[in-house]
Amino acid sequence: MLMINENDPSTLSTSGRLLSYNNAVKEGLKIGQQFTELMDQLINTKDPKELVAAAQTLSVFELDSDYVTFPHQYNNADYYLVFMSRLLELHDQGEAITLDSHEDNQHLTQQISALGDLGVFAFVSANDNTGGVYYQDKVTGETLFYLNLKRRMMRINSSAITKLFIETYADKLEKEHLLSATDLLIAFGQALKADFGFDVDFNLLDTSNNEFYAFQTSNLSGEIVDKLFVAAASENYMLKHDKDGAVLELAPDLKLKIASHNATGGAAWGLYVSDEDQTVSWFKVLLEYPFLRKWYLENIDDLQIRSDNLVF
């Protein structure tokens, strides 16, 4: 062990300085070595646990040290994109997205195949000190979901899903393409749930019958329901009186309920969508029924489905 006072170079001999320099470079290279191992792991592993471990470490990795810096580097958030692509690949959905590397300024973007050229996605830091990131469309700035590997959570953003898939893309793309794009987000969330026990809020994409889609307003006006009543009637659907609000039978096995209580019985206004196979979400209903889409969008300030307000 060399006893060197690094704060006072005058105390060092030349060989001492060289040793000190060399150690610092070694240290920097070791960090680089560690980085490439993590990259190998991120790119090649077939084990989901190793994949998430690599992504998590890389997302906060400081590659540069005082003596060794690397001119070509990706953003920390870019590793989330690799992670997402790889995880989908491990779940046989690799074809559904393409990862693009931009060599000029060294960053990654992702495109969802079903959307064609419409969306260019990347992760951006949520700056929440817990390593949270937003999955953002670079074209519109809309953030589709929030992801946090450390806290093992994913939150779908209802407002962005509505803006992009119900409004912006609606007249540019076929319904089945919109659905396969959102199915991809669901597949990603399901994989996070299944492989790592993530807590995932699918929000308006959730197809389960007991999912309560809570409206923005906690005090729904009768007038808004009246509007739906009249609009439904002109499409030959009858909005019926229900003990806890109103119910609309859209098909023999598809009911839309407006209720004044959530799934745990708390007072709140919102929707339930129920079908036997539990394959229909509020989002799918919006895509399928123009009069409901119109009603939802015209009263969006009150009806917007609530997203997790801690991250959106």
């Binding site: 009543f229 009637a233 909005l239």
Partner: protein, 295 residues
Amino acid sequence: MPNNNEETNQEVTPGQAQLDSSLTQKIKYLQTLQSALHEHDDRQIYELIDKPRYDREVKKSRSTTKTQNLADLVANDHEQLSHYLSENLIDYLGKTYPFFYYDEVRNGEFDIYFGNWWDRRKFGKLDVLNVAFEFDETEYGKLKRSFELDALNQRYNTDNIAEISANSAQLQKLIDGQDERDHQKETLRQQLKEVSQKSTLPWDSGKVKEERQTIVDQLSKLADDDEEAINANKKIKENDEKILSLSKEDTILTYEKQSIQQRFEDFSHFESHNQSLYTDYLTSLIGKGQVNVDD
């Protein structure tokens, strides 16, 4: 010492005999009513609580024999009777009037709701003891009117909605005409300036004054329009709200109309059914009381 010996009471005055017979009748009446209740013989209960009507409308008997009005004996029990009788009656009504729903607001007292759609109307009350609907006159009148308008292919509020929509269109025009008015005002102000600068020779002054006034009047008319345009958006919104509530009423009336058409074809059949409800219901009960007891 009280005398209990019947022998000594042989002497019965006609008054006593009448009282005795009257009491016997009452006891018999109440006993019959009680056993009808035990046997769930609703028909008999109805007969007992309004014998004259029963004789007239169910038995179709023409005789108008005066019977003592014993039904008063149970006048205090109407609430309970009504509650009890409602069960079978509402069951029966469910088949004939599948679109009516009942809410027991107090013991034996029922509100009628028309339909199971959103914000269905409270349509009146069910008079269980008299087997009759007491429809809310206003609501009933609207429904009747919608049937009349049906022939003209119109809905109850068609004219009203058209009028309000026309008003909104007018207001929208006023909003859209703002640029045009601004332009006109500019021109008129210019003209006013020119007129003011004209030589004011005494013999011209009347004419100039007149010209000025015309321009001022035009400007003030435009200012009025401007002001109306400022409030127009608010008014259009109010109109939209009115139209919504009228459309909602039309939708409800359409559903009511369809319900009646599906069951009775037209309004007159519905009305005649309502009128013969007492006879129809009680006739349907004949023989039923006994059957239930056998169950």
